[in-house]
């Protein structure tokens, strides 16, 4: 499973599903590659859903979400 390779992907964790879906919309509009996935067991989150992205996009994603959607945490997979 090459997808799971360390360092390539990170996830954004949210307080609520509403927050995750709102972020999804903004990130989709920006044309950034992402996937909504269940929160991996080794991470803990307020809501069951998180947004996985390529770690290289972290800066852009932080920029897009700043002041728009409250993020619980961003961490590497």
């Amino acid at each position: 499973m090459p997808e799971g390779r360390e360092g390539i992907y990170s996830v954004v964790l949210f307080h609520s599903v509403s927050g995750a879906l709102r972020a999804e919309k903004l990130i989709k509009e920006a044309g950034i590659e992402y996937k909504l996935i269940p929160v991996p067991r080794h991470l803990s989150s307020d809501c069951g859903l998180c947004l996985r992205f390529r770690t290289e996009d972290e800066g852009r994603i932080r920029e897009i979400l700043r002041g728009k959607v409250e993020v619980q945490d961003i961490c590497p997979l």
Binding site: H15, S16, V17, S18, L21, R22, D46, G48, L49, V69
Partner: protein, 394 residues
């Protein structure tokens, strides 16, 4: 004419709804159906998206930048109860107007018994509120100003922008009851200085009954306790209610099918354009007001100026009770209206029509000039008969 009736009771609930509303509801029931924000599978996520899109449409309509600051409730009544019971505590002072609906007045009278101090600012006999009177009522312990945007009895628009400025200057939050205006008259929470906006889904927003909500300005949620606590699909490890929006105020499975319809209704009106909707309703109101003011034996209430009111017109016919008039309009002419006190006894006291009330005609975006013409002729006929014989019967 639609199904043999002229529906002039849009202030109670709008009808007909645009087909977009029930198509979205059918689509949700047929193809999505799942519980939003609970399970994480594709249909659950899709249900969550349906709700988010409704929040986004409402945010666009009201000039709200963060859609998650809009929480859904069953109707405006629940949103208003949430604000009043959630925010006010014994010793706090709250200001309202004499033109309010019972969805504001009854919670406030109850809170008054529980130690909240209440000032009801008198509007003029034509339903107009003077911003200076509101400013004059503000005290050290004033915690909230709560006002309707437009009266559901006379249609009179309240000077919200001026009051919003006063509230800002004095540091008092302003809560607006937009049950009668959301979707019928432009609302911008920033420009109008609105901190809390209660809306109902089933009137001019073209959603189904059982939908409504509240915009909450950032920071105010810290002071507003939820009405209900329970499952939110978030922070499930905690036995305490989450403190973030919208989950803090959205416990339990929501009315997703209703919210699907509401979202579609709001997108419909956004695509028609607020200006166009307002222009049409203003023109219908003008025709109604002109026709009624020319009718001998008819008394009109409010400012009688279509630019200063929404499409709600109250009148009486000399010698007849409002319910006699409404019944004759329905049975003989198929014109559906609402007689009586319109859940707003204080507003009727203000305009001098308590306790008998008035007959209320309320047009909507789908009302035609032709229907207004037919309704006017019906009222004219009843007024002519009353002048001759004092009865509704011909």
């Amino acid at each position: 004419m639609r199904d043999g009736v002229i529906y002039l009771d849009n202030a109670a609930t709008s009808w007909p709804k645009p087909p977009e509303t029930f198509k979205a509801m059918e689509e949700f029931m047929l193809s999505v159906g799942a519980n939003p924000g609970r399970s994480g599978h594709r249909l659950s996520i899709e249900a969550g998206r349906v709700i988010l899109e409704a929040r986004e449409a409402l945010a666009a309509l009201f000039g709200v930048d963060d859609p998650l600051r809009i929480v859904f409730t069953r109707n405006a009544t629940e949103a208003l109860n949430l604000v009043l019971y959630g925010l006010l505590r014994p010793g706090d002072h709250v200001i309202t107007s004499s033109m309010e609906h019972n969805s504001v007045m009854r919670p406030l009278r109850d809170l008054q018994e529980k130690g909240v101090e209440l000032t009801v600012v008198e509007a003029s006999p034509r339903g107009e509120l003077d911003p200076q009177d509101v400013e004059g009522a503000i005290k050290e312990n004033t915690r909230l100003i709560v006002l309707t945007h437009a009266s559901n009895v006379t249609g009179t628009l309240m000077p919200l922008t001026e009051i919003g400025q006063i509230a800002r200057r004095k540091g008092v939050p302003l809560c607006v009851d937009s049950a009668q205006t959301a979707g019928a008259y432009p609302i911008d929470v920033e420009a109008m200085g609105i901190d809390l906006l209660a809306f109902t889904g089933h009137k001019s927003l073209f959603g189904p009954q059982g939908t409504g909500g509240l915009f909450i300005r950032k920071g105010l949620e810290e002071a507003i306790r939820p009405l209900l606590r329970g499952g939110t699909g978030s922070r499930s490890e905690l036995e305490e209610q989450p403190d973030f929006l919208p989950d803090k105020y959205e416990s339990g499975t929501p009315n997703t099918v209703g919210i699907a319809g509401l979202g579609a209704g709001v997108r419909f009106l956004l695509s028609e354009g607020m200006e166009r909707i307002r222009a049409k309703e203003e023109a219908l109101t003008q025709t109604l007001l002109e026709g009624l003011s020319d009718t001998p034996g008819v008394t009109l209430y409010g400012t009688c100026d279509p630019r200063r009111q929404i499409a709600v017109v109250s009148f009486n016919i000399d010698g007849l009770s409002p319910s006699e008039v409404a019944m004759a309009l329905d049975e003989e002419f198929g014109v559906l209206t609402r007689p009586g006190l319109h859940c707003a006894p204080s507003a009727h006291r203000t305009i001098g029509t308590f306790p008998q009330g008035t007959v209320r005609l309320s047009a909507g975006y789908f009302t035609t000039e032709e229907e207004i013409g037919m309704a006017l002729r019906a009222v004219q006929e009843l007024a002519a008969r009353a002048r001759k014989g004092g009865s509704t019967h011909g």
